[in-house]
């Protein structure tokens, strides 16, 4: 379908939103079209004002699965506000409460942590964090809970209702960490042209929260004054192959670095001492 919108209607209803100027240079302003800011959206008057709980994380069909220790944000939005509404002039916004059927030691919402009511501005979006607390349990079934909006103390102002939506949250038991479950090998590949050296590390981890960090790829002596800002390392990976193995992963990561750098990477599992890979004139693992 090709859209046909009457020009007059567009002229009556549009305002410039802004533009994205792309390219280098000295910041020349493109100038151009009118500069009127966008007007406040104006739904038809008379509609009920609704506070709606939402989360960008919630897919239409499923739940948010939160691994213990994970945090996500939910949003509350104002729907149906019209210019003629008696609530429309409220600069202070509306109060609301957040309730959940989760035990307080499983899921922490702002209501449980902070004994006051969040507030949402008329034209804004309120966001609040929900955290799945580590409870030390292992091997138990994942637990499902709901989170809803509720009236604040003193109730809601007339004309304001709460959408009967609930966020479904599944708290996922984090698999136990076995510190010996991390196998790291490193291979020195030799020197290349243009003062480059090559190496490769292979990491096999039994836990999904295994991590690899670059520790010392950044001791460059290259004059970087002509470059945009310092995060320009002289180590870079040239690819990797990663596959799943049981609860974990196996990843092979080849990389290059300049010969005046020492490369150091730390691989670790949560709560365990790191395994350090160091490459200079050769590679070692300790």
């Amino acid at each position: 379908m090709i859209a046909h919108v009457p020009v007059a209607a567009i002229l009556a209803a549009t305002a410039l939103l802004g533009f994205a100027a792309c390219g280098g240079g000295e910041g020349t302003d493109g100038g151009g079209l009118p500069t009127t800011p966008p007007p406040t959206p104006a739904p038809p008057p008379g509609e009920q004002i609704v506070l709606k709980l939402a989360s960008s994380l919630v897919p239409a069909s499923g739940a948010v699965r939160v691994v213990e220790g994970g945090v996500f944000f939910a949003e509350v939005r104002v729907l149906g506000l019209s210019p003629g509404s008696p609530l429309g002039g409220s600069e202070a916004g509306f109060q609301f409460a957040v309730v959940t059927d989760a035990p307080p030691d499983e899921l922490r919402t702002p209501y449980a942590v902070t004994p006051r009511f969040p507030r949402i501005k008329v034209s804004g979006v309120a966001r609040f964090a929900i955290e799945a607390l580590p409870d030390g349990r292992t091997g138990e079934a994942d637990a499902a809970y709901t989170i809803r909006l509720a009236p604040p103390a003193g109730g809601l102002p007339a004309g304001l209702t709460l959408a009967d939506d609930a966020l479904r949250v599944v708290v996922v038991d984090s698999p136990p960490v076995r510190c010996g479950g991390l196998d790291v090998t490193a291979r020195f590949g030799g020197s290349e042209a243009r003062r480059m050296r090559t190496g490769e590390i292979t990491l096999a981890a039994s836990h999904p929260d295994a991590s690899v960090s670059m520790v010392h790829p950044y001791e460059t002596k290259i004059d970087i004054d002509d470059f945009p800002h310092p995060p320009a390392s002289s180590l870079f990976t040239t690819g990797f192959a990663a596959t799943g193995t049981g609860d974990g992963f196996r990843a092979t990561i080849p990389f290059r670095w300049t010969d005046f750098n020492r490369v150091e990477l730390d691989a670790r599992l949560p709560g365990c001492p790191p395994v350090t890979v160091r490459c200079d004139d050769g590679c070692s693992v300790r």
């Binding site: 379908m1 090709i2 859209a3 567009i10 002229l11 549009t14 305002a15 939103l17 802004g18 533009f19 994205a20 100027a21 792309c22 390219g23 280098g24 240079g25 910041g27 020349t28 302003d29 493109g30 151009g32 079209l33 009118p34 007007p39 959206p41 960008s56 994380l57 897919p59 499923g62 739940a63 948010v64 691994v67 220790g69 994970g70 996500f72 949003e75 804004g124 966001r127 609040f128 964090a129 799945a132 984090s174 999904p208 929260d209 991590s211 960090s213 670059m214 520790v215 950044y218 460059t220 970087i224 002509d226 800002h229 310092p230 995060p231 320009a232 690819g239 990797f240 990663a242 799943g244």
Partner: protein, 378 residues
């Protein structure tokens, strides 16, 4: 007027290229003074001025927004059409036939994107009085005479206009190119290719896509054209793109805004929080790679003001997450976002890899990713 001076797509790397980057800026960190526990308990109203990345937010107060809160065309529009008015300002290096091909090919890249229901097409153009351009009910792509003489100025602009009662609808978009740009910047023999990349990038803005990160290679230390090719080219909507075709990151972004039936159920998401010294790692970038043979970059996302990231549209399966700082600070990258990240010390942390298993139709929230300082050379 809100200016999003945030990108430099397709800048040539050939001889005579005068790198238009500003001098290095300080990345000295200021203390963020943010407590995780307090933030976890507090309702937050976002109030960060500046430009946006990846998706265009409804509110100018937001830098980072999720796809479902972003500006977009009404999905019911079916097809967004572009016209190519003749403004009489073609540069010497571009003839009318080439210009027609450029726009047609750029538009074609955004048409029938897998996972997206939006169609994109070019309709006939005609001679135009520049006074009639602007908000006129037509999505126009043209060389803009007013740019002439601004050799080092803005290369190209995508300009959005529109609103409707829901406040999140785009109703018009024009792409304006500086006529001096091809003659001055593009090496002979690749003008059409480079111009197509620029127009493709600008048209991407017309759908509500903002800039994203290049893939994590040190492109400004080792020239991108000499870097190993496995991570090239970066996404079309990256502010350093030299991309020819759309990347997975571009395609997913389009599909998230205009999902075809079944797209959401076929993909999953991974989310979480990134911290640095106990404070949110604001605007750290999280790039996904599919964990299978070969190098397969997936979508990525910036962490927001609270250090929270949400990478949606990920293919199910195990993914590697590569967390890295914003990589470049060009004259046209967002100064607001760079400044915000620098103020939080988030231009200076060590890259980190993590893994996650993504399930179709679900969002997995992983435990915090804790970063360490030390990317800046000592």
């Amino acid at each position: 007027m809100k200016r999003l001076d945030t990108g430099a797509p397709g800048l040539p790397r050939g001889d005579g290229f005068d790198r238009p980057f500003p001098r290095k800026r300080s990345v000295a960190a200021r203390g963020a003074g943010w407590a995780l526990g307090a933030a976890a308990g507090a309702a937050l109203l976002l109030a960060v001025p500046g430009d946006a990345y990846r998706f265009r937010p409804r509110s100018p107060d937001q830098l980072i927004t999720a796809a479902d809160s972003a500006m977009r065309w009404d999905p019911g529009i079916g097809t967004v059409t572009f016209t190519v008015p003749d403004t009489g300002a073609l540069p010497d290096a571009v003839d009318p036939a080439m210009w027609a091909r450029v726009v047609r090919n750029a538009v074609a890249r955004w048409d029938r994107v897998p996972g997206s229901a939006l169609r994109v097409a070019v309709v006939g153009g005609a001679a135009a009085n520049t006074a009639d351009l602007g908000i006129n009910g037509s999505n126009d792509v043209y060389f803009w005479p007013q740019f002439e003489g601004q050799v080092r100025g803005t290369a190209s602009i995508a300009e959005l206009a529109g609103w409707d009662p829901s406040g999140d609808r785009i109703q018009e978009c024009d792409v304006r190119i500086n006529p001096a740009f091809p003659d001055y910047w593009f090496a002979e023999g690749i003008v059409e290719q480079e111009l197509t990349n620029v127009v493709t990038h600008e048209i991407g803005h017309c759908f509500g896509l903002m800039h994203t990160e290049p893939y994590p290679v040190p492109i400004f230390l080792v020239r991108e054209d000499r870097a190993p090719p496995v991570f090239r080219p970066s996404p079309t909507m990256a502010y350093t793109s030299e991309q020819g075709e759309l990347s997975e990151d571009d395609r997913v972004a389009m599909a998230l805004l205009y999902p075809a039936l079944g797209f959401g159920a076929s993909r999953g998401a991974v989310a979480g929080r990134v911290t640095l010294n106990g404070a949110p790692a604001r605007f750290a970038y999280v790039q996904t790679f599919e964990a299978r043979a070969g190098v397969h970059p997936g979508p990525g996302a910036f962490a927001d003001e609270n250090g929270v990231f949400h990478v949606a549209g990920v293919r199910p399966g195990r993914v590697l997450l590569w967390v890295h700082p914003i990589q470049v600070d060009t004259g046209s990258a967002s100064p607001h976002l760079i400044a915000e990240a620098a103020a939080a010390g988030v231009l200076d942390f060590q890259d980190q890899w993590r893994w996650a298993e993504v399930t179709a139709g679900e969002t997995l929230v992983i435990p915090d990713i804790t970063l360490a300082r030390g990317r800046v050379p000592r």
